[in-house]
Amino acid sequence: MEHKLFEIVDQPINIEELRHKVERREAGAITTFVGTVREFTGEKKTLYLEYQAYQSMAEKMLEQIGHEIKKKWPEAQVAITHRVGRLEIMDAAVVIAVSAPHRKTAYEANEYAIERIKEIVPIWKKEFWDDGTQWIGNQLETINYPEGKPIEKGEF
């Protein structure tokens, strides 16, 4: 493989490059999702963030998400990069690019990817505010892991 489709990096993400990874003559639609550092969450003003990853496992889990997508949408091609380290407001923390012959698949597979990232990829965010810091837990808040194991999707 010329380039890694699923990557954890500690440098700014090249969004163009992500899109080029999934471009092909069969595609009629390419979606990208860029998760950026937002300044305000409610009233709370974020100064900057720090992301930490269990890198080798995180890349493996991103690949698993790729397999899940291939199974659900065989025509989709996906690439995901997540950044770690210190990130400033407006920096891209994660970029997901999906190409597909038709647009519906490109949207659905892309949204599926970000939802799964928030469920199974071992990456953690620490918020830095004026008045303190905090490691952020599961933001989905809706997930219950019986016996500490995440819900399996498909056969992976």
């Binding site: 998760g35 992301y51 930490q52 990853a53 269990y54 080798s56 496992m57 995180a58 493996k60 997540h82 923390a93 994660v94 970000i114 990232i117 928030k118 469920e119 199974i120 990829v121 071992p122 990456i123 953690w124 965010k125 620490k126 490691w135 952020i136 837990g137 599961n138 933001q139 892991y145 016996e147 500490g148 194991k149 995440p150």
Partner: protein, 78 residues
């Protein structure tokens, strides 16, 4: 010997990112967690998932010599 990895809040609370230890009577993930909780105040450990050799496992999973065990607090990537 097994290797144990800590991340995020757990890493910060313990002040270390990994340790190596002898299994000595520890057979399952549950027993390892109990052992660690005996020595440290780590409320987040209870909410954490566990991975052995980079795959998620349950608390019932057996730990074998040479394994890498990682505690995975609720993730917040994306």
């Amino acid at each position: 010997m097994i290797k144990v990895l800590f991340f995020a809040g757990i890493r910060e609370a313990l002040g270390i990112d990994q340790l190596e230890l002898e299994l000595e009577g520890i057979q399952t993930v549950r027993q390892l967690k109990e052992q660690i909780l005996k020595e440290h105040q780590l409320p987040t450990l209870k909410q954490s998932m566990t991975a052995i050799n980079e795959s998620f496992v349950t608390d019932q999973e057996e730990i074998k010599e040479g394994d890498t065990v990682a505690f995975i607090p609720p993730v917040s990537g994306g």
